[in-house]
């Protein structure tokens, strides 16, 4: 099977590498000696209690947060203070936020074409065609001319995913993409994410949707108090978690 072979081969190439990464907010040590690698095409789910540093960790990847110690290499580029490197990495890394963060003064189509036109210098017409393509993929082409405020939460989050995809990223980061959604809208967003995963996108996803983690993830990372406590493939992670903290966490979120 050639696809499997190529995925396996590509997986050798690390897309995100964190080596002994440390970060502080003032005196507060928020990330402690993080070692974390995501291979090309891999899907990693990060879970852990609130305040454990999950958001901070993935926000370091596209420099929404700055780390103070250690090395962080994204798609072969090391993140330093060099603004050129930062912008280059941001072009390659898409991010989906808990609160969607669509631009409320622009239509859905304008939300999708803004970055391709201004950052990638794609001609407007081409950018709009690509935008419609991605709106189709997230199943809401009919909303193109509306403003974000006129859409439901689930629709807004799918637009946000499409907006990132329009930049043709190599890596997608998701920070609790379904946490702000009403229960009936969670599935439509997860379905889009599963489709994306099946197409071979490299994904890092902070989520507590364990059903999603089970079906999609190559590995699940458990964080607590700024540390990576445990990292394992889903079957292993759920069947025999190594640490007591993981077991406790799992019993809390799967318990009811």
């Amino acid at each position: 099977m050639p696809p499997a072979h190529s995925t396996a081969k590509a997986a050798n190439r690390p897309m995100i590498e964190m080596r002994d990464l440390n970060k502080w907010y003032g005196d507060f040590h928020v990330l402690k000696d993080i070692n974390f690698t995501v291979g090309s095409g891999q899907k990693v789910v990060i879970c852990g209690p609130s305040g454990s540093g999950k958001s901070t960790l993935i926000r370091c990847v596209n420099r929404l947060e700055e780390h103070q110690q250690g090395q962080l290499i994204v798609d072969g580029i090391e993140l330093t203070n060099d603004i050129k490197n930062i912008e280059a990495i941001r072009r390659e890394v898409g991010m989906v936020f808990q609160q969607f963060n669509l631009f409320p003064h622009l239509t859905v189509l304008e939300n999708l074409t803004l970055a391709p036109i201004w950052v990638r210098k794609v001609p407007k017409k081409e950018a709009e065609e690509a935008a419609m393509h991605f709106l189709n993929r997230v199943h809401i082409p009919e909303q193109a001319l509306k403003f974000p405020g006129q859409l439901s939460g689930g629709q807004q989050q799918r637009v946000a995913i499409a907006r990132s995809l329009c930049m043709k990223p190599n890596i997608m980061l998701f920070d609790e993409p379904t946490s702000a959604l009403d229960p009936e809208m969670i599935k439509e967003v997860l379905d889009v994410m599963i489709e994306l995963a099946n197409e071979g996108m490299t994904m890092v996803c902070v989520t507590h949707e364990m059903g999603f983690a089970r079906t999609v993830a190559d590995s699940i990372v458990f964080m607590d108090k700024g540390e990576i406590v445990e990292s394992a493939p889903p079957t292993e992670f759920f069947a025999k978690p190594k640490s007591e903290r993981t077991r406790l966490f799992l019993s809390q979120i799967l318990g009811h």
Partner: protein, 371 residues
């Protein structure tokens, strides 16, 4: 044949609906008990009486014309009727100051050009590159008209400009240049670069801390002292610069208020898409921030428009100064009320237009993407 019937029926229901609640509102709010009724009637009497006295002064007892400068008919009616004859006699001086009398069609045309520019700028259909071209052409024409020296127009140095065109020049350039400057100052005050932030803060706080009058006096009296011998900068230009620098400091704080109201998520979303600082600012942050602060922005613009009258301190002949000048002729001494009423109406027309326009704009921009 059905359609007209429907329409009639509709109008009928509409008007009867409109009337009933109106009457009910009046009953409930103005005549609900004997005390409210008494207050309503007393106030109505006072309002009507006030209106009547004003109307008798302004219209019924007013003197509209006099023979030459024989203002005795006016003086006989002093305190009873307005002397609008003074406006008829002096309106050209008030509107154009000491601009040569036979050439006053030029500033008149300049006023209409300004009005045309305002109307065009107010239309959203023109909010594109063409607007800059239109303004460039418009201002060039206004300059050519006012100065002359081209197309066979005699040259008029700007010491002789005055009245409404001067006020419009000061206000238009004041707003058009102070506004962009204020945006840079507001961005600077939030900059991560310490030098730029410090500079912006010092500028804003320093300028905001002194009255405009002192700036104008400094610009007209002190500034030339620092210039090398023989070099001189035009008085009008100095006043204009003072107005721009002063207004920019105020506007900057208004703009900063808007910037602060933008959620962090908007900055992060723009960053995560790889937009540069200026792209993010121009495409995402400013459009939202400025829309939020339209009311205080226009408030400041209106203040600026009226503050241009302070140039009278340094002897520039703006609308208010020329109005004052018009009263210096002995025959017309003492008709200040009429003259100031006249210029107030002009100031009001411009300021009220700005206010109404901003309210429309707010509503227009808000439709569509309200949460």
């Amino acid at each position: 044949m059905a359609a007209p019937n429907v329409v009639t029926a509709d109008t009928a229901t509409e008007s009867s609906f409109a009337r009933t609640p109106a009457i009910r509102w009046v009953r409930q709010n103005l005549f609900s008990n004997w005390f409210n009724t008494a207050v309503t009637l007393a106030l109505a009497y006072m309002i009507l009486k006030g209106l009547y006295s004003f109307a008798s002064w302004a219209v019924f007892n007013a003197v509209w014309t006099v023979e030459g400068t024989d203002t005795r008919p006016c003086r006989e009616m002093s305190g009873v009727g307005a002397c609008w004859a003074v406006i008829g006699e002096k309106h050209r001086f008030i509107l154009f100051g000491i601009y040569p009398f036979d050439e006053q069609w030029r500033p008149l045309l300049a006023i209409f050009l300004f009005l045309g520019l305002y109307v065009v700028s107010a239309m959203r259909a023109f909010w594109n590159r063409w607007l800059a071209v239109i303004w460039a052409v418009g201002l060039t024409l206004i300059g050519a008209l006012m100065w002359g020296g081209v197309f066979g127009l005699t040259y008029i140095e700007n010491e002789r400009w005055g009245g409404l065109p001067l006020t419009l020049i000061l206000a238009t350039f004041g707003i058009a240049l102070a506004f962009p400057l204020s945006i840079f100052l507001a961005l600077g005050r939030r900059s991560n670069l310490p030098a730029i932030r410090a500079l912006s803060i010092v500028y804003i706080e320093l300028i905001r801390g002194v009255p405009l009058i002192t700036l104008l006096i400094m610009a007209s009296v002190m500034f030339p002292l620092f210039l090398p011998e023989g070099v001189s900068i035009d008085k009008l230009l100095r006043a204009q610069v003072a107005i721009i620098l002063f207004s920019a400091a105020y506007l900057a704080e208004v703009v900063r208020g808007g910037l602060q109201a933008i959620p962090k998520g908007q900055f992060e979303a723009a960053d995560s898409l790889g937009l540069s600082y200026w792209q993010k600012t121009a495409k995402i942050i400013l459009p939202q921030a400025l829309q939020l602060v339209i009311p205080p922005l226009v408030n400041t613009f209106i203040g600026l428009f009226k503050d241009t009258s302070l140039v009278l301190i340094i002897g520039l002949f703006d609308l208010l100064t020329s109005a004052k000048g018009a009263l210096l002729e002995p025959a017309w001494l003492g008709f200040g009320v009429e003259v100031y009423f006249f210029v107030s109406v002009i100031y009001f027309a411009f300021c009220f237009a700005m206010s109404r326009y901003s309210q429309n704009l707010e509503v227009e921009l808000a439709t569509g993407h309200k949460h």
